[in-house]
Symmetry: C2
């Protein structure tokens, strides 16, 4: 149902765009109704007009209209923990059932019997070990089924809603606006591509083959009865952080984004810098989490508190201002955050 409503909205937006009324926002035809009027919204609409109007000097042919989106913190909530890490922590129970020897081994012991305080004290290295262990030794089909089942039942502790409802409505509108204007949308996540692929089509209308991200290798082998299978290994095949994100985007897709969206210095700074440096009209945009009341507030840019999850450094902020990125303040630029706010 959710998807159908979104598809309908996209169709309406598409019709509006092809009738040439995607330009100045009006009450009736505003393609970004969850964005407050202001320089951010204006810059987005101006970029779309400049790149799609065939008489514009910045016109971009449809096949080169490539839009790249980070996921955690850009398309959906990443606090208090990246969703995929919550999934991996939840999988530790199943893992120790299969391998009971892990019950007494750290960091698994902390998760199984340490309580919330022990889990909160896990280092990034511990978490990484848990990610590799819980997402390996199973076939790709088993992993798919497990992620789907988890997504259907797990809920975010703050809103008590399934994670896939915690996507930002203003960003869904940006995805739909670009799609309706001939752009091809891609996800480049610092998280796991295989995880995001299980909901990218229904939530973002982006098919699995247009999702890149952190990846563990899937190894070819023969399973029961000599049947060929692919199983995940506890190794890293693709690391999508820092400059890796734009390097891997080129490696996997052979494309240069016309517009790129992110929110993290450890994830997105280089791809935003690279995208903006292209010739013609380019839109690099960063989401600033500065709304503790409606979502979360963290930086450290603009004096917002630094956290372990998500980092928007002052250096990246200054680079964005200097290079003319859109910096979208959740507090000032977003009229509403989630679709369920009504």
């Amino acid at each position: 149902m959710e998807l159908h409503r979104r598809e309908f909205a996209a169709l309406v937006l598409g019709a509006a765009a092809s009738a040439g009324i995607a330009g100045p926002a009006s009450a009736q035809t505003d393609p970004l109704p969850s964005w407050n009027e202001g320089p951010a919204k204006e810059a987005i609409l101006k970029f779309v007009r400049a790149t799609t109007d065939s008489s514009s000097p910045d016109f971009v042919p449809p096949e080169e209209r490539i839009a790249e989106f980070d996921q955690d913190g850009t398309l959906w909530v990443e606090h208090p923990l990246y969703t995929q890490i919550v999934y991996c922590l939840d999988r530790v129970g199943a893992l120790v059932k299969e391998k009971p020897e892990l019950k007494t081994k750290q960091p698994f012991k902390a998760v199984v019997s340490g309580g919330p305080e022990a889990v909160a004290k896990l280092s990034m290295r511990d978490i990484f070990e848990i990610v590799l262990a819980t997402q390996s030794g199973i076939t790709v089909e088993e992993y798919r089924a497990d992620v789907r089942q988890w997504l259907a039942t797990a809920k975010h502790p703050r809103w008590n809603k399934p994670y896939i409802e915690l996507v930002y409505q203003p960003m869904l509108e940006v995805l739909a606006l670009l799609r309706a204007n001939g752009f091809t949308n891609f996800i480049a996540t610092g998280g796991g591509a295989s995880f995001v692929r299980e909901y990218s089509t229904r939530v973002y209308d982006i098919p699995p083959e247009r999702v890149s991200g952190f990846a563990q290798p899937a190894k070819f082998g023969l399973g029961p009865g000599g049947k060929p299978i692919l199983s995940y290994e506890p190794k890293v095949a693709i690391n999508n952080l820092e400059a890796g994100k734009i390097e891997n985007f080129w490696l996997q897709f052979g494309r240069r984004p016309t517009t790129a969206w992110g929110n993290s210095s450890s994830d997105d700074q280089q791809i935003l810098e690279y995208t903006k440096a292209g010739s013609g009209a380019r839109l690099s945009a960063a989401v600033l989490h500065d709304d503790a009341e409606r979502e979360y507030a963290y930086g450290p840019a603009q004096g917002l508190p630094n956290t372990a999850v998500g980092t928007f450094s002052q250096e990246m902020y200054d680079m964005g201002v200097k290079q003319g990125w859109v910096i979208a303040s959740m507090k000032k630029d977003w009229k509403r955050i989630f679709a369920f706010e009504g």
Copy 2:
């Protein structure tokens, strides 16, 4: 012009398919006119009907209709040398101009001053060194422009035609038939993805982001004036041979092919085996080069001569027969090979 004609053909095929007449081949509506009647053609049409008829037990929803194609020897000619290797050999001249010290160093010396006999004696290791050296130290945009220029002028010695005209007409018809029936086509080449991406859209109607293959990493750095650039390195990031082809297909796209097409034991055997082992109707197909008169004849399957380029082992042939792959004989199954035959 070439593209327009093909697009038109695809549209016509599409209309035929949606009118429900893509089924039994007739003179008027045959979607595979360059295929002779026989078990190969029949199996392809049967597979398309079974997977797209919503009342069929083997119906596959459109989002899971994934078609994978090898390129060299499957979609276009790979003899007497893989086209990309011809390109790399042609680039040695420009390379030694930039780095004169290579003129006296093997294997570059052989290419620059050894004549055809010296080039013919190069080992696969020599060729590999030339591939990495000629395709690195330049930005991704410089590489793109160079490949495009080369493709516009270079010609195949036997037919004296641009390489992009040496695509197999029967395979273009398979691509169009699948596309018209809701399949998404992908290329998984043992050759270079970046090379194929320069013509995949216009020749196969497959955009760059749906091409995977051998890949050298593109490294992020700062170029003249501090402008961020991506430059190819003389290293291997992705090796797409043997089981690597299906492993990388999953890594890059998170998809399992419903149908897979290849021609080489060193390239395609595992992905064809894996695809065929899926549940429901699956089509694995291999092209057998057994027509020395109209193209080339090589194996070693079925007693055809073994060559350095392309290998279709008897082991793969026997596996294909046992598992019920389509084995398309160029001699018996293809009415014509190239579009320019008229």
